[in-house]
């Protein structure tokens, strides 16, 4: 299997004085949009929010849509439990985000870009706005017809789902839409829209700065480049780390674990739980377990029942509530494991619930309901006895 050893990288937070973000913009928009798209596709960059859609294609599709008005949106509604890397990027290198948005705007033909920041990060808004004002002024001086705006969310996890985010921006209830149409065709205000994660946009500006070769030299065939990880839980060195993609989980545990690691929840509450016995043959990347960056480490003092219970409580509360599989499914899963724990239902009831998650995975309206199956099955399959007894 194509894999890379664990290696720390310094692209995202690095600062090149000779080529600052605004200079990257200046340099890049001398190229044709088509060439920039080719660079993006060539780099192999996939969305860093978790779903992993190829960024170059997303830009290309949106560029190909005919519309007077288009939008670039930066998804900074970082709500996945265990992830906190976008906050650091917004704090430390926001200019790189603005640059990525501007380049995207140039490519697809958008004049407006919005950063949708999660409600809990409102304390940053003031400083962020100051930096945006400076950047907008620089764009204006360079006669670049693009403007960055800031929007604040109101604290619902589901608003990180792109179509729910659009609804929220439009002043409606933050509920996911039916797809198709996809955002590239009808996004914010039903106009063609590119919506990218904070980190993805930073990588796009970095790829423009250093060229696609340097980026794609990192990582594996399916997972090019590096990624920022939010490491938390039972680790002596919790924090934010940019690592090359494609490492085996074993390497990760050796670096970050406390010597007693029992399981790692890869990709936050909606991700997969990997038990110790699978550390060796699990790759962190799109060929193995993809992640939006959240890595929660659990040692043997942790009850996996409690972990799952917490996740299910979270989903029960954070489901938008509109679709049946998610709204009621989450409640049934939560009540179900409680009933098994109390002995009110037989252990085999867990198998009924697993079948329910299989339905949720294919029948829920959006990624929220669809992904509840991930933690549920991976924890129940690997720690069944902890759930029952």
């Amino acid at each position: 299997m194509d894999q890379k050893p664990l290696k720390k990288i310094d692209i995202i937070f690095g600062w090149d004085e000779r080529c600052t973000p605004i200079q990257v913009v200046e340099k890049t928009i001398k190229k044709t949009p088509e060439n920039i798209i080719l660079d993006m596709i060539d780099s192999g960059l996939k969305g860093r929010g978790g779903a992993g859609f190829p960024t170059g294609l997303k830009w290309k599709f949106t560029r190909n849509e005919e519309s007077e008005v288009k939008y670039v949106i930066c998804n900074a509604d970082e709500g996945e439990p265990g992830t906190f890397k976008d906050r650091e990027i917004l704090d430390k290198v926001p200019e790189k985000i603005f640059a990525g948005m501007t380049i995207c705007g140039y490519v697809i033909g958008a004049r407006e870009g919005y950063i949708y920041v999660r409600g809990e990060y409102n304390f940053m808004l003031k400083t962020l706005q100051q930096k945006i004002d400076i950047f907008n002024q620089q764009l204006h001086d360079m006669k670049v017809d693009f403007h960055v705006y800031l929007r604040s969310g109101s604290g619902a996890y589901v608003c990180g789902e792109e179509s729910a985010l659009f609804e929220s921006m439009e002043g409606k209830r933050g509920e996911p839409r039916n797809k198709p149409p996809y955002p590239t065709v009808a996004g914010y205000n039903n106009k063609p829209t590119v919506i990218n994660n904070v980190e993805t946009l930073v990588y796009t500006s970095e790829i423009c700065r250093m060229g696609p070769e340097q980026f794609k030299a990192l990582g594996t065939n399916d997972s090019r480049g590096s990624k920022v990880f939010s490491v938390s839980g039972d680790t002596p060195i919790a924090g934010i780390y940019e690592l090359e993609l494609g490492m085996p989980l074993r390497d990760f545990v050796d670096e970050f674990g406390d010597g007693d690691t029992k399981a790692i929840q890869v990709g936050g509450a909606s991700g997969h739980c990997v038990p110790r016995k699978k550390f060796n043959d699990t790759i962190i990347g799109f060929e193995g377990i993809p992640t939006g960056g959240s890595m929660m480490i659990f040692n043997s003092s942790r009850s996996m029942y409690n972990v799952l219970h917490d996740y299910l409580e979270f989903f029960t509360e954070e489901s938008c509530g509109q679709c049946t599989p998610c709204r009621i499914g989450c409640q049934q899963l939560l009540k179900g494991i409680e009933a098994v724990k109390k002995g009110e239902r037989p252990p085999t009831y867990l198998d009924d619930l697993k079948r329910l998650t299989a339905t949720m995975k294919i029948a829920a309206k959006c990624g929220l309901g669809q992904s509840v199956a991930n933690p549920f099955t991976s924890i129940v399959d690997n720690f069944r006895e902890e759930i029952i007894y």
Binding site: N178, E317, G321, Q322, T324, P325, I328, K335, T359, A363
Partner: protein
């Protein structure tokens, strides 16, 4: 514009459909039924119940067939193993959140969830019951609409109805996740919010979460009481829809059978609201002409034009909440139902020698707002509550069933007299544009002495299901006393459904409109699509009911309100003249400014 055609296969059967068609619609063309709950032909697509999911070859996810457009080469399976399991799960999940007391439910037998449950027969229901006792509280604050949140499946059909069709938004979604539910502003009782009582939400609620406040038992009590003289009046639109709830095809008129059934149930007199519809035309038509005269001849700037109809109590309450600045434009005429009640307990009671206090007036209406209307404090001009009970068409069908009457075998019977005779003009009150047409037939003739210049008196421009209709009639060859109207172009507009009414009202408010007379019916299609009519409803069903109404009109020998012999008699014996002293006392009312919240 020609659309692209798309080729696809559903359950291995090829079909070609227009681009933009949904999988659900395409499957229907092939006679594959896919169950739905949140989908309704009158509303926007929600795609949230997920009961209509189907498998599309090559796709990771099941597709909600109501929300997914077809694409070239698509291969759809509507009954694969995955689909069946998912569908069963979805129904079971909904049942786990639903207060399953079906046998006690008012919608028992008319519930779409119950239907699905009976198709799938969940013998060993696996999921945990999520309904808490504290959720089993009903809101019966409104005299029109009752709400039982424990029956709600969150399909949001009511929310979309109230917003998209009615522009009222009395019901909305609050909270998220397991706390998400449908409620009113600040959880206030339904009677204390902007709800117009139109009942359109009831017509579209798939379960027993919304239903009419029912008065069947009260009516039976009155019928059984030997001291009570129970008079029943029937609205125009009931006779073209009642059959639907009694096994008769949509669009079939059952006037005679309905009269017969009412007698068999035990009502002492079976009379017709159509009669007071004709009377309304006399009063409202005269009011229009009076206002026109004041405006055009007396140059009275305080007179409010356009005059707006006031027959539809849902519309009236909407106006009171939403456009209080325009309430003086509303005709002061009571609705036909209330005119009937006021006359029944005065003139009619005297005539048949019954004490008004012993008389009970029951009205059969296609409407839930009428229940609210009869309870308005203003509606007691006879000295008693003018109309005691209002039953919907659906409630009447229930009474007929309870009484053991085999409806389809009944012989036609005629209404009692007096207050039972009506004209074609009274009948068409039941559909959108009808009041306008009836008023024009009479007003034009009063002014000119000639019939309205339309073939067979059929004023086509105000007919049909377009949301807002406009027409202009040039008045020619007036009688001397109306010569100020010579050459005047009478501009009228008709709206049905409150969202359409809103458009008209905004136009009036902006001062850009030049209408003299506006008819508004609160419900889509007018009364034939009323909130008390048999369920289901759709554009097609409403169209067929409307056709039946116009057929009834054509079948009448007298088709102009002012020629109704009983109306003439009532004026001669009692009221003397339209807008006369007695009329003002009994047939006219006033309105109340209401807040939005």
């Amino acid at each position: 514009m020609s659309k692209y055609m798309v080729n696809l296969k559903i359950n291995n059967t090829p079909i070609q459909v227009e681009e933009g068609t949904t999988i659900l619609e395409a499957a229907k063309l092939l006679n594959f039924r896919i169950p739905t709950l949140c989908n309704h032909p009158d509303l926007s697509v929600a795609g949230n119940c997920r009961v209509c999911v189907v498998e599309v070859k090559g796709a990771r996810l099941l597709a909600a067939s109501c929300a997914t457009p077809v694409s070239e080469g698509m291969e759809v399976n509507t009954n694969s193993e995955k689909v069946r399991i998912a569908r069963k799960h979805v129904i079971e999940l909904l049942l786990s959140e639903h207060n399953v007391d079906c046998t006690k439910c008012f919608k028992n037998g008319h519930c779409e969830l119950q239907e699905l449950a009976s198709e799938y027969r969940f013998g060993d229901h696996i999921f945990i019951d999520l309904v808490k006792d504290r959720d089993k509280v009903r809101d019966i604050s409104s005299p029109s609409i009752s709400r039982d949140a424990s029956k709600c499946i969150r399909c949001q059909r009511c929310v979309r109805t109230c917003d998209e069709l009615q522009s009222v938004s009395a019901l909305a979604v609050v909270n998220k996740g397991d706390h998400q539910y449908i409620t009113t502003f600040l959880n206030k009782p339904l009677n204390d919010v902007v709800c117009t009582n139109c009942g359109q939400c009831i017509n579209r609620c798939p379960t027993g979460a919304l239903y009419e406040r029912n008065y069947i038992e009260d009516v039976w009590q009155a019928i059984y009481d030997p001291n009570k003289f129970v008079v029943v009046e029937t609205a125009p639109a009931t006779r073209v829809a009642l059959g639907e709830d009694l096994g008769i095809e949509t669009g079939v008129r059952v006037t005679g059978k309905m009269v017969s059934a009412l007698r068999k149930i035990g009502f002492n007199k079976v009379l017709d609201t159509d009669f007071t519809a004709d009377l309304t035309i006399m009063e409202e038509g005269t009011e229009l002409l009076t206002r026109l005269k004041k405006a055009l001849v007396d140059k009275d700037e305080t007179v409010k034009l356009p005059l707006m109809t006031s027959c539809s109590p849902g519309w009236v309450k909407y106006q009171e909440h939403m456009y209080p600045e325009l309430i003086d434009n509303l005709s002061s005429c009571k609705s036909p139902q209330q005119m009937f009640g006021a006359l029944a307990k005065t003139y009619y009671a005297d005539k048949i020698n019954i004490k008004a206090e012993n008389m009970v007036v029951v009205s059969i209406m296609p409407c839930t707002a009428k229940k609210f209307e009869c309870n308005r404090p203003e509606m007691r001009d006879s000295g008693f509550k003018d109309v005691d009970y209002v039953l919907t068409t659906r409630e009447l069908a229930m009474m007929i069933k309870q009484a053991g009457i085999e409806f389809d075998k009944l012989e036609d019977e005629s209404y009692d007299s007096i207050l039972g005779e009506s004209t074609g003009a009274g009948v068409i009150f039941g559909t959108t544009g009808g009041v306008m047409e009836a008023a024009l037939r009479t007003a034009y003739e009063i002014i000119t002495g000639n019939e309205v210049p339309f073939t067979n008196l059929n004023i086509k421009p105000v007919r049909g299901m377009e949301g807002v209709k406009e027409a202009s009639i040039k008045i020619k060859n007036t009688k001397p006393e109306w010569n100020f109207l010579e050459g005047v172009e009478l501009n009228v507009a008709v709206a049905h459904g409150l969202a359409n009414a809103k458009q008209l009202m905004d136009a009036v408010k902006s001062g850009k409109s030049n209408y003299h007379f506006i008819e508004v019916m609160g419900c889509p299609g007018g009364c034939i699509g009323g909130g008390g009519q048999p369920i289901p409803t759709s554009a097609e069903i409403r169209k067929r009911r409307a056709e039946a109404i116009y057929a009834e009109d054509m079948g009448k020998t007298i088709r102009k309100s002012h020629e109704n012999p009983e109306v003439i008699e009532v004026y001669k014996e009692y009221l003397s003249q339209p807008l006369g002293h007695k009329s003002h006392e009994l047939l006219h009312t006033h309105y109340k400014v209401r807040k939005r919240y």
